[in-house]
Symmetry: C2
Subunit: 249 residues, 2 copies
């Protein structure tokens, strides 16, 4: 049976309550100040691969949209990540974080050393958006519904617990707090408008579950490689690699 | 510089020596009899997703081949997995293994409960074969070069250590010992023939590395979920699920 708009919205929010990666133990370690500098670096390197893929995902989406209005609205996501004349953009902000934790910016930008499992999960998301219906693609983006809290927790936890954390290194997260709400308000209302049968509602819910799997898998892989059991797969980043040369002080 | 045929073959074999998943600790536990029944079941469920995807991958390959001779040779791989009038096929053999370890055959065949990370890795392989050059697709299949030893070790280790192991439940592996050598002899010689520039040799080597990552990631995910730290991601198989009803005896 097709759910009412409110009931369907609650169903989507419940998926986040049960499966969003704010509940992953790695985030508890990170935000609680219990990550070693190397573990923070591993997170920065691997999460960069996700950041780097988001505008590619958004371009894949736009490449399938016939409606110029929808493309125009969606384009701001690419601008937020890739930057404009007046906005540095999220990708460069993330590389600022990489430098703040001691990594070489070019090393991180090269995506060398990214865990294969990170690549497989993130690439699955890009392909999902390329292959599935537009409704499923927009629904998958709705993990942003659950992001403001994790970004606020992260800013607070990193500032409190790590020397590298300051306004410059954390600017990525502060900007996402401003940018994400407009994206997700649009995305949510678009999904609620377009999921007008049970079949579409089920597909949209499954897409959001898929996306929570993409996020969770990345942390599972990070945790397994660098925390417990701490077995780094062949070819992935090894602590000490990719460090910035010490600056003369 | 383009390598000689022998040097290039050695380079490919060296990739297996360094990165093939026979070196993963999960296989040591499995073959050494140190997996619990639940850990064996988790392996059977997740590895089924890989088995189930291999003929899909091979069909994707054939869909891109213009040469009927190459398609004809390749088709035997699909027959080996999907079966023929006179050959049960690898997929049904794997489901026999699933029943032997106490799982419900239909549950396993449904792919419910497969780890998201398994799906992402295996799907990445199918898409690799769909998207990359034919040379890269064939090169990725060359992990079969390293498989006979692991299959022989597995048959011996499972027979010695687990009650479920007998000729019927292990028939998948025995058959692969017969089938894989002809596939890989063809694949290797095809790759050696076609990788006639340095660029192609590098691409073929990278494809084989990619494939070792696909295999290794699956075991990493399995290990993290069911061995150490033993954290099962949301939605994945939980021990006790998907069991066959006890037979009246």
């Amino acid at each position: 049976m097709t759910q009412t708009r409110d009931a369907f919205e609650n169903r989507l929010r419940q998926i986040g309550a049960e499966r969003y990666h704010d509940k992953h133990p790695f985030h508890h370690l990170l935000h609680g100040g219990r990550c070693s500098p190397e573990q923070v670096r591993a997170w920065v390197i691997n999460r960069y691969y996700y950041q780097h893929s988001i505008p590619i995902k958004d371009a894949a989406f736009m490449s399938r949209v016939e409606d110029p209005d929808l493309r125009r609205i969606w384009r701001s996501r690419i601008e937020d990540h890739d930057g404009t004349d007046t906005n540095e953009g999220g990708i460069r902000r993330w590389l600022r974080l990489a430098e703040a934790v001691g990594l070489d910016r070019d090393y991180v930008a090269s995506n060398r050393g990214v865990l294969p499992a990170t690549r497989f999960a993130v690439d699955a998301y890009v392909r999902f958006v390329r292959d599935k219906t537009l409704l499923e693609a927009v629904a998958a983006s709705l993990t942003e519904l659950f992001a403001p809290k994790i970004h606020a927790d992260r800013i607070q936890g990193l500032l409190k617990n790590y020397d590298f954390a300051d306004d410059s290194s954390l600017s990525y997260f502060r900007n996402r707090l401003k940018e994400a709400p407009k994206d997700v308000a649009f995305g949510l209302s678009w999904v609620l408008d377009h999921a007008d049968t049970q079949e579409k509602q089920d597909a949209a819910a499954a897409a959001l579950i898929f996306k929570t799997d993409v996020l969770w898998s990345q942390l599972d892989a990070l945790h397994a490689a660098y925390v417990e059991p701490g077995r780094i797969p062949p070819g992935a980043w090894v602590p000490g690699e990719g460090m910035a040369l010490a600056k003369a002080s």
